[in-house]
Every structure is written in C-alpha cells, then in structure tokens.
Subunit: 216 residues, 2 copies
Amino acid sequence: MQVEPRKAPGSNSGRKRLRVVAAATEVFLKSGFLGANMDEIAVRAGVSKQTIYKNFGSKEALFVDVVTAMMVEADQKVHTAPAEPDSTEAMERYLFEYAYRQLSVALTPELMQLRRLVIGELGRFPELARILYERGPERAITVLAAVFKRLEAKGLLLCPDATVAATNFNWLFMAHPVNRAMLLGDAGLPSDADMQRLAKEAVRVFLAAHTPNRIA
Amino acid sequence: MQVEPRKAPGSNSGRKRLRVVAAATEVFLKSGFLGANMDEIAVRAGVSKQTIYKNFGSKEALFVDVVTAMMVEADQKVHTAPAEPDSTEAMERYLFEYAYRQLSVALTPELMQLRRLVIGELGRFPELARILYERGPERAITVLAAVFKRLEAKGLLLCPDATVAATNFNWLFMAHPVNRAMLLGDAGLPSDADMQRLAKEAVRVFLAAHTPNRIA
DNA sequence: CGCCAGTCATACTGACCAGTCTAGTTTGGT
DNA sequence: ACCAAACTAGACTGGTCAGTATGACTGGCG
C-alpha cells in the first residue's frame, strides 16, 4: 500500500483528509482502537475506504495520526504565559490563576477521553503514551519549575528543589479531579466553583510549605 | 446458556474455576477486553472452552468476575491499621509509614495494569471503574479523613475539612508515581528509595499546611 | 461393576472486519 | 476540451473469534 504524501489543507484532498481525521477522532474516542470500525469512519467522513487507506495506510497509522493531532491541538490551548509576579500577594494571585487555568483547559471531556484511550492502549502504542506524558504533566512541571526557580531567586519562594515543588503544586490541584474523571467519567468532572476551590486550596497548602517566614 | 452455581473451592470444579480465573486474569491484563481470546484463556487454564462457558456464561461476565476478584484481592493487602499516634513526633512517623505502605502496596505492576485496563474500558464497563474508584482512592481518603478528625480532636492537626486534608495528603505522594506508571508503564514505577523520598516530602508539605503553630 | 455428572478435544457456525479489488465517475490542471 | 489523478460504491477475501454442538472420556459413588 502506497501512502500518498500529505496534501495542502486548502485543496480538495486536504479537506477530505481533515474530514477523515475528524471522523476517526470521534470513532476512536467512542470505541477505542480495537472497537473502532473503518467502515464507520469512512461513512462519517463521507469518504470511501480507499481514500482513507490511500492517505493513512493502515488503521494503526490512522490511530497514531489522530491521537497525535489531538495532542498537538491540546498543546496550543495550554500554552499561555502571564507575566511573573514580583510580590507575595501577586504571587498568590499568579498561582491561583495558573491552577485555575490549567484545570479549565485540561479537564474537558475530550482530553479526559483521550487520556483514557491512550492509557488503555499503552500496551499497543507505548510511544503515544510517552508523548502524552511529555507534552502533558512533564512539560507543565518543567515550565512551572523554571518559574519557581526565578521566584526563589527573588526571595518569594523557598524551594531547594524546584522540580519537586512544581510537582507538588501541579498535583495538588490536578490529581483529585483527574483521577475522578478517569474512573467516574464526565459526570465526575468538577464544576467551575469546584475548580476555584481546588485552586485556592492548592495555593494555600503549597505556600504553607514553600514560603519563607510563614506562620500557619 | 445455563450458568452453573459456584462450586466449593476445594472440589475439582472449584479448582478448575480458579485456574480459569487465573488464566483469564493474565490474558485480560495482557490484551485488554477486546484483544483477549477465549481460546487462549482456555488453553492457559488447561480447560476446555465449554467449562469456561458453563461457569461464567460469557466473555463479559468472565471479565467482570476477573476484575472484581482482582480488586477484592487488592483490598485485603491494603487493609492494615496501625495504632494511631499521640504526639507530634509519633504522628510524623505515622504519616510517613502510612504513605510508604500505600506506595509499596498500590504501585505494583499488576495493580497498575488493572487500573489501565479499567480506565480503558470505562465506556464498556463503567460499573467496574466505579468500584475501583470506591474501593481505591475514595476508601483510602475516607479512612484517612476519620483518622485526621481524631488527630484534630487531640490538637495534633489543624484541618477544618478532614476530607480535603486527606485528599491533599493522599495525592501528595500518590499522584506523581501513579501518573507516571499510567503513561510510562512499569519502567516508570518508583524504586524503594523513590518511595521513601515521596513519602517524606508529602509528610513535610502536609504538616506545613495542617499543623497548628508551625514555623517553616 | 455401572452410572452419570463433569469434562475433554475438536469441529463448526455465524458474525465481524481490515484491507483489496474493480469498474465507473468526478475533479482539476493545462 | 482533454486527460490523468483522485475519488466513488460496493463487492470480495481471508482471517479472527465468541459461542455452540458433538461425541468420547474420566472419576467418584452407590
């Protein structure tokens, strides 16, 4: 099977390719890799199976393409960097905003389902799980650690190991809702008020453990 | 299809049943629900397919039985309750021991693979995921919250909401390694030294945020 | 010994499905 | 207008697999 090179997105071929990716995304998210049916994907995309196989070569390759595309798209939403704070009060606000934004962006039904899918297919597609790990939590923690290092230099934070501190903070607000969503489904996702509570509590605990001269 | 009632475990039938469960456990963990092959399970159990269908009725039912059995077994290992502490120093030790034990017991390749499996099959078997949630993190947090309430009554802890405090503590040591294991596989599991570090850091952060009159 | 419930190996059915093939149609560039 | 590339519907192949059917074997018990 000869796989055609990717066409420009404006062309007719390119548009068809996008429709296939969109349809495949739906179907894979709904049914998983083995449960997904190529005929259903073709019908939903309004495209013949031939076209799919011409563009992607195989079910596996389509799956990898679809999941990778979903992660790239998610990446773009997560990337935002507000100005870093200069005072204790500004830092508290900064941390709260950061946590709240991460919660809002990451805890969507699509991303949670993507996560379930990738975890379930770890055995078959370990490289996809690795990419999700690196682009998700690892990247978030790395970026946060760099911020914390600068905050420590300013004397606003006390953290001998910035990566450990960033890991602490990240999971203080993320762990509980993500775990719930993984096992309870979309019904377990937090409301906006929940997210604010989570962010606030995470900031409180984090600062209690990483601020110089603090009295609880 | 008539499903036979469960036989006493000592009998010949009972032993065969156990061998089926053991074999099915292996195969489901390795291949997932759809990927698992009933013929392979039969061969591994040294049993004919007929016997499997007589005892369990269907692939779905076997899967539910197997996963439930795995969770019951895991439960027994997790349940241990050392004496509750009476002083600040004893509490620190207690929390460390608790965290370290939870890490040691929960972060095994089998339990992590079970978790991946259940998460991946959330769409098909939501009730299994719910059971895992209730018997796993929810139960751990509930038990911990009760302990924290008593510790607060003794004046050792400061936590207006014991459940929030228990959630904080639980995920402070669990979140990072569990997330790594989910996405990086068994190679991402922490070493014994890692677990001790995780437990120690979690206790430090937790106590900084939940102890009366504490100076960081 | 003879009974019979449980088990065995094996073959089969019917459904599903990834991927291919065919022959006719549309599209887009020149 | 013309042609080549891309696309279409739909049939087809080959393989897999859940679940059933068959007929023979075995072991415990009266």
